[in-house]
């Protein structure tokens, strides 16, 4: 069996613990079952007068910091239902569409980047919803619809067939900058959504492939509906 990252790279593990001491003194590493989990409280509001802390457990992937960690709220504060963006089966929080997280965090799932850019907004949003306020950010539909909506926001196309074909072109490395932009502007990509398209080209293949799968299931649902 492959040795876990914190054994092959003890310096990286020490660095992680140093980051926690410096930035998150109430979060601590816990090593068990060949995994590193980060356990403790995370402050959304940190004042004595106005404190709002979540009990969390972040499970780091074996290729930390390359893949997306999983995270749980451990005090039973966030209800385990899909409308609160919790995976009902595992109880893990769904902090974002994986492709979108990857793009926003530029593939860096180091603990600071993950906590600040992925988890913090999610928890702030949850606290506002608890207060009866609307979710302060965009909110994705569940499942494949949510993935499509990301591509709509990101490259301006909401047709699953077009998005799917575009992603396949990226996967097969056929995409060229003089192609017409997927948003339908009629302009070449390099004069239109170039930055976003470049971000998609930096995605790992498995994420692109999973997006293609989501587009296919949307097409299947459309076909089923029209029959």
């Amino acid at each position: 069996m492959e040795r876990p990252w914190f054994e092959t790279n003890p310096a990286a593990f020490d660095e992680l613990r140093g980051i926690l001491r410096r930035r998150y003194p109430t979060l601590h590493t816990e090593v068990a079952d060949l995994k590193v989990r980060i356990v403790g409280t995370f402050a959304v509001l940190g004042d004595v007068e106005l404190s709002d802390r979540y009990s969390i457990c972040v499970e780091l992937p074996n290729d930390y910091p390359r893949s997306i960690p999983s995270v749980w709220e451990t005090a039973g504060r966030i209800e385990r239902v899909i409308d609160r963006h919790v995976f009902p089966r595992t109880g893990a929080l769904c902090v974002g569409v994986p492709v979108e997280l990857w793009v926003r965090l530029a593939g860096d799932f180091g603990i600071v980047n993950y906590l600040e850019k992925a988890l913090r907004p999610y928890l702030i949003g949850n606290s506002l919803v608890e207060e009866g306020k609307p979710w302060p950010f965009d909110e994705s539909p569940h499942g494949s619809e949510g993935v499509l909506e990301f591509y709509q926001r990101f490259i301006g196309n909401s047709d699953p067939a077009a998005v799917g074909n575009f992603l396949i072109a990226i996967l097969q490395n056929r995409l060229r900058g003089h192609w017409n932009c997927p948003c339908g502007s009629g302009k070449p990509i390099r004069n239109c959504h170039e930055t976003n398209v470049r971000a998609l080209r930096s995605l790992p293949n498995f994420l692109l492939a999973s997006s293609v799968d989501h587009m296919i299931s949307l097409l299947e649902m459309q076909t089923a509906r029209s029959n």
């Binding site: 601590h28 509001l45 404190s51 709002d52 902090v95 600040e116 992925a118």
Partner: protein
């Protein structure tokens, strides 16, 4: 400011003054339960009184609840023949007004909407006419009943000379999400400091954390109200001891590296405290755009 002065200020900021909103809310709930009890058991005259941190003087703002004991006379069968019946009858009676979470011996009250009210009701029965010892029903564990004594517990903690370190320990427990209950934590702290309780607040707290790092496996705790009879091992599992050790080690390292203010955060009061929603909205604005939450299951 020295680290020790900082820790003293921190405790001051955690103090709950009589008349503060939280205590008033607790007292209102307490009086409501009191009235419900009198109505449901008109022929009983239970002692209904503060237990827990309110009585011990160890309440803190960030982690408080109200333990109210409800002890019936030894020969009073109004609320039930057996301890289990008493426990269940009190629970069922409260369920008309509250969501009742059945804990080991206590009943935790939530509003019907699910909001935690931070109130625990502990039903029990005096063991005889002359003693202040009581039997409590136990939902979990191998013994169905537990003999204990509230007055002994309260005075053991209140008069330990350690209530300041205990308050700090509770804050440390809560901030770091260590799942140890208050009573075993109090016993651990008192046990460590029973050897040497001299020095400043900082020195004494650091002594406790150092003992957690070096000898947590060897520290034994016993119930002062029933030293040989009540097994507290369930309250201090190996997993929990490990967690106490690692968090204590991290905390001491962090305090050594950056000072205690870094561990617990600034305490000076802001001139104006934003309303909660405004503070959260400002926090949302400061993180900028966020990835919308999602789920892979439709």
């Amino acid at each position: 400011m020295s680290d020790n002065d900082y820790l003293k200020d921190l405790l001051k900021s955690q103090r709950m003054e009589e008349g503060c909103d939280q205590l008033v809310a607790l007292d209102e709930e307490r009086d409501k339960v009191d009235a419900l009890l009198r109505e449901a058991f008109p022929n009983s005259d239970p002692d209904f009184t503060h237990g827990g941190s309110r009585a011990k003087g160890t309440m803190i703002r960030e982690d408080y609840d109200l333990d109210e004991v409800c002890y019936f006379d030894n020969d009073d069968t109004g609320p039930g023949e057996t301890l289990e019946e008493i426990y269940n009858n009190v629970a069922e009676m409260l369920e008309d007004e509250y969501i009742v979470v059945r804990k080991r011996s206590a009943l935790r009250l939530k509003s019907k909407k699910g909001k935690d009210l931070y109130v625990d009701i502990v039903p029990g029965r005096y063991i005889d006419d002359n003693s202040t010892d009581v039997f409590l029903h136990q939902n979990e564990g191998d013994k169905e009943r537990l003999k204990t004594n509230l007055e002994t517990h309260i005075s053991y903690v209140r008069d330990s000379g350690c209530t300041d370190v205990i308050q700090l320990g509770k804050l440390w427990r809560t901030r770091n999400d260590i799942l140890i209950r208050t009573f075993p934590l109090e016993l651990l702290i008192i046990e460590v400091l029973s050897g040497d309780n001299s020095g400043t607040l900082q020195e004494r707290f650091e002594r406790v954390l150092t003992a957690f790092v070096d000898e947590i496996d060897d520290i034994a705790i016993e119930d002062p109200a029933n030293p040989t009879g009540n097994d507290l091992s369930f309250a201090l599992t190996d997993k929990l001891r490990n967690r106490l050790r690692t968090v204590a080690e991290d905390t001491l390292d962090t305090a050594g590296e950056y000072g205690w203010e870094h561990v617990f955060g600034k305490v000076e009061k802001k001139a104006t405290v934003l309303p909660r929603v405004a503070a959260l909205t400002a926090a949302a604005a400061s993180v900028g755009a966020a990835a919308p939450p999602w789920s892979d299951e439709a």
